[in-house]
Symmetry: C2
Subunit: 502 residues, 2 copies
Amino acid sequence: MMDTRTAYEALIKEYKAVSTLGSIEGLLHWDLQTMMPRKGAVIRADQMAIISGLAHQKLTSDKVRDLLGTLNTAENTLSDEERANLREIDRDFTRATKLPQELVEELTRQRSKCHNVWEAAREAGDFSKFAPDLEKLVDLTKQQAECLGYEDTPLDALIDEYEPGATAASLTTMFNEAKKTTIPLLNKILGSAVKANFDFQKQTFPQPKQKAFGEEITTVIGFDKLGSRLDSAVHPFCSGGRGDIRITARYNEHAPQQAIFGIIHETGHGLYEQGVREDTLGTPLSQPLSYGLHESQSRMWENIIGRSLPFWKLSYPILTKYFGAELKGVSVEDWVLAINHVEQSFVRVEADELTYDLHIILRFEIERELFAGTISVADLPTVWNKKFEDYLGLTPPNNGKEGVMQDIHWAMGSFGYFPSYSVGNIAAAQFWAKMKEDMPKLEQQIETGDFKDILNWLIVNVHEQGRRYSRDDLMKRATGTPLDVKHYANYLTEKFTKLYRV
Amino acid sequence: MMDTRTAYEALIKEYKAVSTLGSIEGLLHWDLQTMMPRKGAVIRADQMAIISGLAHQKLTSDKVRDLLGTLNTAENTLSDEERANLREIDRDFTRATKLPQELVEELTRQRSKCHNVWEAAREAGDFSKFAPDLEKLVDLTKQQAECLGYEDTPLDALIDEYEPGATAASLTTMFNEAKKTTIPLLNKILGSAVKANFDFQKQTFPQPKQKAFGEEITTVIGFDKLGSRLDSAVHPFCSGGRGDIRITARYNEHAPQQAIFGIIHETGHGLYEQGVREDTLGTPLSQPLSYGLHESQSRMWENIIGRSLPFWKLSYPILTKYFGAELKGVSVEDWVLAINHVEQSFVRVEADELTYDLHIILRFEIERELFAGTISVADLPTVWNKKFEDYLGLTPPNNGKEGVMQDIHWAMGSFGYFPSYSVGNIAAAQFWAKMKEDMPKLEQQIETGDFKDILNWLIVNVHEQGRRYSRDDLMKRATGTPLDVKHYANYLTEKFTKLYRV
């Protein structure tokens, strides 16, 4: 029988190959969204299929199964870190082997079909065109959940993919708390006399200068230009890993704040990747614990730091170096009010920091009902609109781009994904509260462009930990307590009551 | 036993997967040269190693071996095209299985080492620093040749990789003929009173406008923008395949002709890929017959068409749309003389159309001697300089960038590759001679921007044939005779005696 050391090293070698294939798939995806000529779509589909097939094959091979078998009976001879790697590789293997091949293929086909149908139905605002295929996809996804297993409700099995350890029940509790802060705060702000001025949007802010500012400001923060790049994409994202991180942005020549915060957001994701330990690359210890934890980093840099007055005391002089004429007469306080403008709106991706979670919560609640079987696909438009009125005080004008079909997630079968966005906000605020304790001069440091303590705190407490701990263990080690929505409620209340004098 | 049809389809499926992996490797390479941030080198090396390993594994699998075994005994039931695919897949399989794994690994290591050593030695112009590692690489390459097998000389086994069917002996005959035309013609031109005027190089030609002209002119030729893109790279190349062809260029802001002809050259390669039959994609029928045949397309577009007066009667008004001020006072005839300027020079990649082959021939002759054992690595600088004086009338000032170490090929172990460049020139001229017979109004068509007959001729006779025929069969079908250097000799003589009035 193979000794433990040899087996562990063999397992890591196999897993690293899976990760390398994953990184290639990531590059194919990046290229598809940024560089690929239109007619490359056919060969690209083949390329992506072969790579994901090979990665799946490698992860679920008999070799990996045997190595896991050997190591799972001998894990007491492994170090803590090695045990964590073993546990997480086992988790990946188990999830990947739970689904029968036919179901995987049927899901892939139905997702692709649904995505195509969705595009047309969304354009036409006609939910009835989308409903039959979505219903079939929901059914298949329920089967997927059955295969994966859950304790309480099928949605738990799906949430577990994005947010290991979270459940529909625990999210419900947290989101109900969040709503108690967000909805009253929103109503107060809507009644405030403090109003942002958007006259600067009459000016033109050329894209190349927006990009140059974005590159300058992210370098100031500490994002390494030699290990990253910034391109344009219709739907911005961050991909790649340490050494080769690729972020993207979409530019609006009249509203530069859109690309600026998009870039800072993606840089937050990028900094997470940049912060992983080099010696753990390709293993679970270099991988994000959850989508929510990754999002906590992008949201922290975009919202908590990026939309703060101290940050703009530092950055506004840099911005006006590029756009002095266009921002003439706009004070840094005017600018900060504009970038923190709160309003009821229909579209999630355009929502402000405060209302964003309401968009998420209503989606999560709908998913919860849908997978519990208490509503059906046919009910979605009605339920959506009702919740929209309750939480955001608005009646969606259509079922398409400003209504129930606005997001790609359901069309792609990514149920259980939405909560991670709000988990990210909640975790970020909790980190931030602890960081302010640990670094009493935090705001002055930001104002003077000294980000190294902040970055170091995040690296040590989050980035370098990868998947070593459970989410609550990681939160406890970093902040003293498990994930707790109160920090986020405090943060929002303090920030917005001050800004809007309410 | 599996029936022939099933076996054939299974073989094609396996081979297409190998091709798809190859296309991914191509993209990784393109990205490395154009997009990748500097620190991405480490993970990129892993990505490329895993993909080429998987491709090799797939090509040399027992499954492929068994399918080839089944089909090779039943090929009479296959169509002509299917038999050609079978023959070529068998060729690839055989070549790939002939080398023992240890030799492949040792070659990879030594190539990589040699490449690093070469960079420094080339910079310092110190051949003695390069010689020991090059010697080791030559020895390993000789072992490679022994494994691959040959009839006459080890170099034949290497040439066969790039130019199937060609041998050192047949190339020697052809190149000796070529020299008989080139060297006297060069000497005549050097004595001519006709001299190009390069005053326009005092102007500045901004890169974005050069690129825009490049994109416009290649679209005029018939290169499909929806299936291609143009980027910058230090060492320009063409990669990708039909639907997603990527060409690159290097720009000199004072000598726009460098990028213009670089772009037209790479477009020639791209048009080859664009011209393959869609239903053969991923099979040998969609692959180039040889490096020389591919080069025949790039050279035809760059030199035969691209540097001709009819082409510039069409294109010069387009060029002056971009650079009217910079080219003020330069007539189309002045321009054509400048872009056909002939001179003795040290560096292959900067050589003009006429002297280029002399650079190639001397390299080939050195390779021939080296692999026959009649000279050793230590002799290279002396032999190089002697031949340079004989053929080009110049004594290289150093052994580095202007001497024996200027090219990357030997440092990477690509022995036997150089001849393909000249084979390309020779084949292009032979196609051209036939095209002029088939299309009596060829020059007028070029002058009026009507390239569809030319492109169609090349598609039907070259691009669509892929690896269906041997080189000489393809030449015979297209032009009536096997490859024959006389067409090239005629073309050069006619063109340059007219241009230089000699």
